[in-house]
């Protein structure tokens, strides 16, 4: 229905964007973006509704902003229809806009009729359907400049007036009367409604800024996509910032810089011992928990996590890549490879507690009947294995057959071709898979809970020293490592234990809450550094391939 415009009635090739009227639309877009951000901040309680900015409460600012936004949007649309603004509207706003506006107004009218006016079921149903139908007719039946702005602008203006008039304010509560206690509070409703209205009005004003028509729709979609992407990044950032903010004070407790400030470390390698003093002191990551410690920390859990991941990767990567080589290069494609594919995909989606239970029931009885670092490594290795197989297989399948042909035509054998051409070309993909997998297993709690355990507050003496634990014996198998068979702690489990430990179990730690958040921050940093290492490795291998 939108294609009914006269094509010979050409629009000007160059449009003057800097005109005053264009600025109105641009201002409306900017205002809706601002409202979007502020309402997000209110929603996540970074700002309170009753806080005053320049003497005016936030809720009033939001209401006023919505009224201005709505008025500007409507004014632009009507101005365009009356010919004051030069635009290129199509005959109709289109089905999508019509449905969105109609659905919104059905809800609004229904709420107003049933809650404010107190009409019965029949009354509000009729009212909401009538209003919805009217809005649908308005947005679809009129020219695009009116149809896409007036319903949106009116919605924003009405919401703004409701906030300004105090009908919905910070203290407002709507008890839903469910069996379980459920209610909408003003603190939730106001920012949510503002968020929605700013999106709708922002969409409409962005269309207006683009002068409606194909170009306007493009600007509208573009604005929505950007607001969406921005809010996702914002939420992620907020999450990170929240953890950092809460945890940083516990982390830097007792931090000191200077020669001789840090503890002494010793590494024994082939009988040679190298020792050095750290030039800084960060007790939270350098100490365990102890009676004599000046500051307590989570060193044993950090080292435990690192060894856990290293062990799982050492176990899973050779096996997984080997299986992928067999499946892509040697096995004939058919029932068998399909079965393996289904099995690996299924294993990857198996809940981690099931892996943990397997480790608990199968591995622990075989490794000295106690929870141990080795059981934890193998359990997480089993968890990592399917993802390594899946991604390595994908990566090898995407290596062009031309490479294999070229190599075969030079008389190079299949295995040599795999080793020197296929694997290097597939390496970035394989590394990507390992990164994803490590990101998942490094934060797993359930399998560790069942296979590795550890304590709530772990003394520094329990820091696993896997390299130093190797010892030679005179009887087979000639090498032993008791450290691998000891229980060890890892950050996710320790965090879980801290949260569930309760108030009484604080031990030597003065401020358990601070300790908890600092542990969470360290876990985050450790997992992110595994990511960073993986991404750096992928970047390196990719550059090797096409520098």
């Amino acid at each position: 229905m939108a294609a009914e415009t006269d094509t010979r009635n050409r629009n000007p090739l160059v449009r003057d964007d800097a005109s005053g009227t264009g600025l109105v639309a641009a201002g409306a877009v900017g205002l809706s973006a601002l409202l979007f951000v502020v309402s997000l901040a209110v929603l996540f309680q970074a700002v309170d509704l009753t806080d005053a900015v320049a003497g005016v409460p936030v809720v009033t600012l939001l209401g006023g902003g919505l009224v201005v936004l709505g008025a500007a949007t409507v004014a632009f649309g009507v101005g365009s229809r009356l010919g004051f603004v030069e635009t290129e509207p199509q005959a109709s706003a289109g089905m999508l806009a019509g449905v969105v506006f109609a659905a919104t107004w059905v809800v609004v009218a229904g709420l107003v009729a049933s809650q404010t006016l107190g009409l019965g079921t029949a009354g509000w149903l009729v009212a909401s359907l009538a209003v919805g139908g009217g809005v649908f007719a308005l947005s679809v039946g009129t020219r695009e400049d009116v149809g896409s702005t007036v319903p949106a602008g009116a919605l924003a203006a009405m919401a703004g007036l409701v906030f300004l008039a105090g009908i919905i304010g910070p203290e407002w509560v709507w008890d839903l009367g469910f069996e379980q206690k459920a209610s909408f509070t003003g603190g939730f409703t106001v920012p949510t409604v503002t968020l929605f209205c700013s999106l709708v009005a922002g969409w409409a004003s962005a269309k207006a800024y683009g002068g409606f028509g194909a170009r306007g729709r493009h600007t509208g979609a573009y604005t929505l996509v950007y607001l969406n992407a921005g809010s996702i990044v914002g939420v992620l950032f907020l999450l990170l910032a929240f953890t950092v903010f809460k945890g940083i004070s516990g982390l830097v407790n007792g931090f000191a810089v200077g020669l001789g400030a840090g503890p002494e470390s010793t590494i024994v390698l082939l009988g040679q011992s190298i020792s050095w003093e750290w030039p800084f002191y960060l007790p939270f990551v350098m100490n365990g928990v102890g009676l004599t410690n000046d500051f307590n920390g989570v060193l044993p859990a950090i080292v435990g996590t690192v060894w856990l991941v290293v062990g799982a990767v050492l176990f899973a990567v050779p096996l997984g890549v080997g299986a992928a080589v067999f499946l892509t290069e040697y096995a004939e494609r058919g029932r068998f490879t399909q079965a393996v594919e289904v099995a690996t995909n299924g294993l990857w989606s198996t809940p981690s507690i099931v892996f943990g239970l397997f480790g608990f029931a199968f591995l622990i009885p075989r490794f000295g009947n106690g929870k141990s670092l080795l059981s934890g490594m193998l359990t997480l290795g089993f968890m990592l294995l399917p993802l390594v197989v899946i991604t390595s297989r994908e990566a090898m399948l995407s290596v062009p057959d031309e490479y294999r042909d070229a190599s075969a035509a030079l008389g190079v054998t299949k295995w040599q071709t795999i080793r020197s051409v296929v694997l290097p070309a597939a390496l970035p993909g394989v590394v990507t898979g390992i990164i994803l997998g490590v990101g998942r297993i490094a934060g797993e709690t359930a399998p560790i809970l069942l296979t590795m355990a550890g304590g709530v507050f772990v003394p520094g003496s329990q820091t696993p020293d896997v390299i130093g634990g190797f010892a030679f014996t005179s009887t087979p198998p000639f090498v032993e490592n008791p450290v691998l068979l000891d229980a060890a702690s890892a950050l996710p489990y320790q965090l879980y234990a801290l949260i569930t430990a309760g108030v009484g179990a604080s031990g030597n730690v003065a401020n358990p809450d601070e300790f908890k958040w600092a542990t969470a921050l360290v876990l985050l940093v450790v997992v992110l550094s595994f990511y960073a290492i993986g991404i750096a490795a992928r970047y390196y291998f990719r550059r090797e391939l096409n520098q």
Binding site: E402, Y403, A406, A409, L410, G411, S420, N546, Q547
Partner: protein, 306 residues
């Protein structure tokens, strides 16, 4: 051989009829066809193919092809798409073994030695019979590594840390090999200052010459080329054609091409495959293009069919 030669006007008259080969008195159709395919040349055959049949599953892709390929010359294989010329080419170094559904009957002899028999060393065979593919396919490695890849995998060049420790490293030989192959492929002047750059950064024509250089690195006797210039622009194609001309002094070149002008320009003898996977005519290039004996070949060459 020239008994069945017909003038173009004569064959024109038959064009609209069955398209079946025309016989003269006293000879069966089979004998005539046999003679079209029979190409006599002085000297020994480098490659000698007898009754080669190839099946892909139920598809009979190549039907009883027999031909001898003379040494140090350029042999062009032409024909419409799907006529089996690439299949034929890939049989000459047993690349078709890599296709799982392919079944190959018949005999191919390289210097009188059967390559389709038990105990053939595919590594040695493919070192002696190299191959260049339709689209340039250098490895995602440096230019020098692309050239030294084959010899390194065959143990002729050792540059690793272990080889250096054992005193067996021969980096000088490698550098010589890289330079020699690149010079032979007429690429040295263009890339001598960036041998360590990634080969994927070269232009298409340069990549294809690099692939030819890579093929030369294992010191082949025969070079098979599967439409080596079809993905290249006219200038790069001209360079490749000059190169093929030079190479034919020392190597036996067998080239598949779609481009009949190209076949006419560069080859010494031409084999025409037509739809159905049969070799129809095989003779001196000049003869094929000026006075083909088969009517179908004449139609194909004059662009009436195919």
């Amino acid at each position: 051989m020239s008994e069945t030669t017909q003038t173009p006007t004569e064959s024109q008259q038959n064009t609209t009829t069955t398209g079946e080969p025309e016989t003269t008195a006293g000879e069966t159709e089979e004998q005539v066809r046999e003679e079209w395919r029979d190409y006599q040349f002085a000297g020994e055959a480098k490659l000698s193919v007898e009754d080669l049949d190839v099946y892909y599953g139920d598809d009979h892709a190549l039907k009883g092809v027999s031909m001898d390929i003379p040494e140090n010359s350029v042999t062009a294989l032409i024909g419409p798409s799907g006529c089996g010329k690439s299949t034929f080419l890939r049989c000459l170094n047993r690349m078709n073994d890599r296709v799982k559904s392919a079944r190959i009957d018949g005999s191919v002899e390289l210097d009188g030695e059967e390559i389709y028999q038990e105990g053939v060393n595919l590594v040695e065979l493919r070192k002696r019979v190299g191959m260049v593919f339709q689209s340039p396919n250098p490895f995602p490695k440096s230019i020098a590594e692309n050239i030294s890849y084959g010899p390194r995998k065959h143990g002729d060049i050792e540059t690793g840390l272990l080889a250096r420790l054992l005193g067996r490293s021969n980096e000088d030989e490698r550098d010589e090999l890289v330079e020699r192959c690149l010079r032979d492929a007429a690429l040295w002047d263009e890339v001598s200052d960036r041998l360590d750059d990634n080969a994927l950064g070269l232009s298409g024509g340069q990549q294809q010459r690099l692939c030819i250089a890579r093929c030369l690195s294992v010191d082949p006797e025969v070079i098979l080329m599967d439409e080596p210039a079809s993905a290249l622009d006219p200038i790069a194609t001209a360079k490749i054609e000059d190169l093929i001309d030079d190479l034919s002094e020392h190597y036996t070149v067998v080239i598949v091409t779609h481009n009949m002008q190209q076949a006419a320009r560069i080859s010494d003898q031409t084999a025409v495959f037509l739809t159905g996977g049969e070799l129809v005519e095989y003779d001196d290039t000049e003869k094929i293009f000026e006075q083909p004996e088969s009517q179908r070949v004449e139609e194909y060459i004059s662009g009436k069919f195919g």
